[in-house]
């Protein structure tokens, strides 16, 4: 089974329900920031590109995590200067981050550790390519032009140097850790299953 389907975590619980949109104030910076994106067009572009390059042969298994959530997490990562783990952790507890990810309602569940695993985010990032990134940027620019907020009449071109920064926890390490974690959990769950009496 593919990792994207395997690591699905549901936004369901047994506790009270919170309406995220009602909770996050309208003047909250993250709410205002998230409201500027043309989400429908961006998500459609990502879905189209991924479906073309990585066609799914079967519809079996759990439904994948919504593209809207993963795309917003990737953008939020750069806005808030977070690592994969930090942003995934904030998604679990921060209602403004939930709003930015398009989660409208959430069912409280104390036991649940996370909504999205960092490994899933790393895998989603692996599917983004040059053409898609250009399209996403173009869609954002088109939306801003249509809204009349910006004008391309007088433009400035500039370059800047950008170093290859060190990546302490890279995607490969994250995926390696995920595999190790899953094998460890399966090893611990086996004796428990054996101990359980048969009915």
């Amino acid at each position: 089974m593919r990792l994207l389907r395997h690591l699905q975590h549901w936004l369901t619980g047994r506790g009270p329900q919170i309406c995220v949109g009602d909770f996050v104030p309208e003047a909250h910076p993250l709410r205002q920031w998230a409201d500027t994106f043309p989400w429908a067009a961006l998500v459609a572009a990502v879905d189209r590109s991924v479906a073309q390059r990585f066609p799914t042969k079967t519809t079996r298994g759990r439904a994948p995590i919504a593209t809207r959530v993963l795309l917003a997490l990737e953008l939020l990562k750069h806005e808030l200067s977070c690592s994969d783990e930090q942003i995934c952790s904030r998604l679990r507890t921060d209602l403004a981050v939930m709003y930015a990810c398009g989660i409208t309602e959430v069912q409280v569940e104390r036991v649940q550790g996370h909504f999205v695993l960092p490994e899933v985010l790393a895998q989603f990032r692996g599917r983004l390519d040059e053409v898609l990134m250009e399209e996403l940027l173009s869609l954002q620019a088109t939306a801003a032009l249509e809204a009349g907020l910006v004008s391309p009449a007088h433009l400035v071109v500039d370059t800047f140097p950008s170093e290859q920064g060190s990546q302490r926890v890279n995607d490969a390490a994250t995926l390696y850790k995920a595999k190790k974690k899953s094998s460890r959990s399966s090893r611990t769950s086996l004796p428990r299953a054996r101990r359980r009496p048969r009915r």
């Binding site: 910076p29 205002q32 920031w33 998230a34 500027t36 994106f37 073309q52 390059r53 066609p55 990737e74 953008l75 939020l76 990562k77 750069h78 806005e79 200067s81 990032r125 983004l128 390519d129 040059e130 990134m133 250009e134 996403l136 940027l137 173009s138 869609l139 954002q140 620019a141 088109t142 801003a144 032009l145 249509e146 009349g148 907020l149 910006v150 004008s151 391309p152 009449a153 007088h154 433009l155 400035v156 071109v157 500039d158 370059t159 800047f160 140097p161 950008s162 170093e163 290859q164 920064g165 060190s166 990546q167 890279n170 995607d171």
Partner: protein, 313 residues
């Protein structure tokens, strides 16, 4: 200069011999792999029962792998032709697209990295497009791909009256005669690109405006008012460059993801996050006085509600 190990563990040194030895090892391995790759490509082109999409993807990956070997080989030959070793001609086998950046640093050796190019609105710093080429080409080569991307975004606008690019500003590195001619051909003024180190004229006289329009051959396309704005934008360019600072604050100075594709994803996401923050600032009218004035001249700023006086009666 490429360093080995972390800088916090003392001063890094470049071991040229070690680099050359590693290079030789890589080339030896590559020599064995190359015939296999060519055979695989022939097999792929032959009658293999495979969907066309998969075939295309595999062929692209294979070509990319073969090109990376050729790149290492080419750079290696440059090193071993008896020429004096330039300190930036070092092969990086892990990221073939990485290049020495000789810009931005004057007091230390050239560093390896990438040089993204941006095209942004003068007033607010909203970035319309990003260009991240392989290596470190001349700045003038960035302009046309960036302008093409902006025109693509404009073409997607559903309004009947589509916006047009009037002028382009840049630094002295963009001063290229061929580039100016191409931009004039597209109806874009280039008065914002300086020819010398002397500052541009912020408010040209009527005769100067006439000369600018005549030189560009845009008498019928651009108005004197647009020339005045273009000159003002070119003059103010160093002041409104803060959008690069904004990007650097969002982590654009250090690319965290691996390879060329990783760099593109990193830069693209950073630019999109920055654009969203810029749009919020525009909506809340949290721009500098200069930016507000320019937006008012461009007809983008709504009327000032504080100045609206209701009749007291």
């Amino acid at each position: 200069m490429r360093r080995f190990g972390r800088q916090c563990r003392g001063h890094g040194k470049v071991f040229v011999k070690l680099v050359r030895e590693t290079e030789q090892q890589l080339l030896e391995v590559g020599q064995q792999v190359l015939p296999l790759a060519q055979a695989a490509q022939e097999h792929l082109d032959g009658k293999t029962p495979m969907p066309r999409e998969v075939q295309r993807r595999l062929a692209a990956q294979l070509t990319d792998a073969m090109e990376s070997h050729q790149r290492v080989a080419k750079q290696s030959r440059r090193l071993t032709q008896g020429k004096k070793l330039a300190h930036y001609k070092i092969v990086n086998a892990y990221d073939g697209t990485i290049a020495p950046i000789c810009k931005g640093k004057s007091n230390c050796p050239a560093q390896f990295g990438k040089k993204p190019g941006l095209i942004a609105e003068m007033a607010s710093g909203f970035t319309f497009a990003l260009h991240l080429p392989v290596g470190n080409p001349a700045d003038a080569s960035y302009v046309l791909p960036l302008v093409d991307k902006v025109q693509h975004a404009i073409a997607q606008v559903s309004d009947r009256r589509k916006p047009v690019i009037h002028s382009l500003a840049g630094d002295l590195a963009l001063n290229d005669a061929a580039l100016r001619a191409t931009l004039h051909g597209r109806g874009i003024l280039t008065v914002g690109i300086p020819r010398t180190i002397e500052p541009l004229t912020p408010s040209p006289t009527q005769a100067e405006v006439h000369h600018i329009l005549q030189e560009a051959g845009l008498h019928r396309q651009r108005t004197p008012h647009q020339v005045h704005l273009a000159c003002a934008c070119g003059y103010s360019r160093p002041v409104v460059e803060s959008f690069i600072e904004n990007l650097l604050c969002r982590g654009a100075a250090h690319i965290r993801y691996k390879g060329h594709r990783g760099a593109l994803v990193h830069m693209g996401m950073t630019v999109m996050a920055h654009n969203a923050a810029t749009l919020v600032r525009i909506e809340l009218n949290q721009l500098s006085k200069r930016a507000q004035k320019l937006r008012r001249l461009l007809g983008l700023k709504p009327s000032n509600i504080n100045q609206y006086k209701v009749k007291k009666n």
